[in-house]
């Protein structure tokens, strides 16, 4: 059953050095504040997992929290590259970053397998590309029914999944709506999970298209209004497009980035713009 906790206590309890950690979210509901808390608590050697790593992963990587990234697209959406990510892969700064590259479909299916308690997923993609040569977790498999050669990818079962949602009730049932990605699969696949929410309420009013993560699937709920900034929470906040543009400048320069990290570590509420 989920326990309501502060963000700092939840991260301290759930995220350990060396863990496989997935902070999921797609354009909307990205758990950025939780990422900053991981930076503040100076976690190290994490394997970060995400279908579409964006600014918060650039920040975690630049702050030296990660040794490996499992992903299918990494960029500053609508702006360009992630400069800290590129610096880590290309130059090993501040620490070398190993990458495990998959396709979107491969990542989504890996989470689904993890959530389903299955050891791997099977799909048609990857054949004909170079990915099987550069990514160890892509293997050919023969269909036992048709003899066709397909591709197997192993389940992802993160040590910790972290997502952001609109709200939770006091029992820790979580409700989210609007554009969702693989949050449900990531949480169900994970050994431990943390959900940051815009607000904790007495009762969850049903919302069209809404999804509930039951309390039993969640370990900690932390109330963090604006915790998705600079992404947004439908019904609560708008996307801060200027932050994404400003991040391009901050992240290009190691010194400027380090000043930014110091501001995060000092507990200042940091916004790039």
């Amino acid at each position: 059953m989920a326990e309501i906790a502060s963000l700092s206590a939840a991260v301290a309890d759930l995220v350990r050095d060396g863990d496989v950690v997935a902070l999921e979210g797609f354009t909307h509901l990205i758990p950025v504040a939780a990422g900053h808390e991981i930076i503040r608590q100076r976690r190290r050697e994490l394997t970060l997992v995400r279908m579409t790593p964006d600014i918060v992963y650039d920040q975690l990587i630049g702050a030296g929290c990660a040794r490996k990234l499992i992903f299918s697209w990494g960029g500053n959406p609508g702006v360009g590259s992630l400069h800290r990510f590129r610096d880590a892969v290309q130059h090993g700064w501040p620490v070398p970053l190993e990458i495990e590259e998959h396709s979107h479909a491969g990542m989504a299916n890996r989470y689904v397998a993890g959530a389903s308690g299955l050891p791997f997923a099977v799909l048609r993609g990857y054949v004909g590309t170079d990915l099987p040569n550069v990514t160890d977790t892509i293997k050919p498999i023969t269909c036992p029914f048709t003899g066709e050669t397909l591709t197997a990818v192993p389940a992802i079962n993160p040590d910790v999944a972290i997502v952001h949602a609109q709200r939770a009730d006091r029992a820790g049932n979580v409700q989210m709506w609007g554009l969702v990605g693989v949050q449900k699969e990531a949480v169900l696949a994970a050994r431990r999970s943390l959900v940051t929410v815009e607000e904790v309420v007495d009762e969850l009013e049903p919302v069209p298209g809404g999804m509930v993560l039951p309390s039993w699937a969640v370990d900690r709920v932390a109330e963090v209004p604006g915790g998705a900034h600079p992404s947004y929470a439908q019904g609560y906040s708008e996307r801060d497009n200027a932050y994404y543009a400003a991040w391009d400048t901050i992240s290009r320069d190691r010194d400027e980035f380090e000043r930014w990290v110091e501001r995060v570590r000092s507990g200042e509420v940091v916004r790039a713009s």
């Binding site: 299918s72 590129r86 290309q90 998959h102 396709s103 004909g128 590309t129 550069v134 066709e148 554009l179």
Partner: protein, 256 residues
């Protein structure tokens, strides 16, 4: 500002920009497509898809690449998040994706992963995203705003989207639904309609010579049937300038 030269095939009274020619070339990707989901990545392909829908491809469904189906004005007309895409769209022949390419080779292999060694690249790119699945499951085209030898290379560093030679080598699982349709650039339109499925120069944009395209391409191109890319007609020009891109954002991607 230089502009593409006028052509007798156009009845418009003023000069057409290169960006406008590229928008129409991207629109032409969807001619006779029927009722499919078009997923154009990048500005010029998006403008082209909108133009196609407003003119000769009214059945086109446009996605915003995230969760919504849009009409040509950008109004939401349906909700289609990730899972619906997997349910509805991936089944074959119902989608046409237009992607970018940091590198592309003679057989249409595309690289958006890394330049150099994958483990420690000279340039880490954005990542393969959906390309390994897109290219072996439904029609795919490419758009590149800067036709150069850096993009049109002899061999790509990391095959992300599958080309004809690799699809053939990999067999049924890759070749069954494989369909790399065209490559549109700021200079030309190319396809793979040759006996060995190597790249062919379909047309050069008005004001561009065949030699100029060959100079900017690392590998030889079949130029035996090369024509000139058509200009927009008067109605298309009006739609581009007044409806789909009144702020002229197209000129930033393809300067005249």
């Amino acid at each position: 500002m230089t502009t593409a030269r006028r052509s007798e095939s156009s009845d418009n009274g003023d000069d057409v920009t290169r960006a406008e020619v590229a928008v129409v070339a991207c629109a032409e990707l969807f001619r006779d497509a029927g009722e499919i989901v078009a997923s154009p990545m990048g500005l010029i392909p998006s403008l082209g898809a909108k133009l196609a829908r407003l003119t000769f491809a009214p059945g086109l469904l446009l996605s915003d690449g995230e969760a919504y189906l849009l009409d040509a004005d950008g109004q939401v007309e349906g909700w289609q998040p990730f899972k619906k895409v997997l349910d509805v769209v991936v089944p074959h022949g119902t989608r046409h994706v237009v992607m970018g390419a940091n590198q592309i080779d003679r057989f249409g292999n595309q690289n958006i992963s890394a330049i150099g060694d994958h483990a420690r690249p000279d340039r880490q790119l954005l990542g393969v995203r959906g390309a390994p699945g897109n290219t072996v499951n439904h029609r795919t085209s490419y758009w590149t705003p800067k036709h150069s030898k850096r993009v049109f290379v002899d061999a790509v560093d990391v095959v992300s989207g599958v080309g004809y030679d690799n699809a053939h080598k990999a067999g049924q699982a890759a070749s069954r639904f494989h369909d790399v349709h065209r490559v549109v650039t700021n200079l030309a339109v190319l396809d793979f309609d040759t006996p060995d499925r190597s790249m062919r120069l379909v047309s050069v944009h008005p004001g561009v010579s065949v030699d100029e395209v060959l100079e900017q391409t690392s590998f030889p191109l079949d130029t035996s049937r090369t024509t000139e890319t058509r200009l927009p007609d008067a109605e298309e020009l009006r739609l581009i300038r007044e409806v789909v891109d009144p702020k002229t954002t197209r000129d930033k991607e393809v300067p005249s």
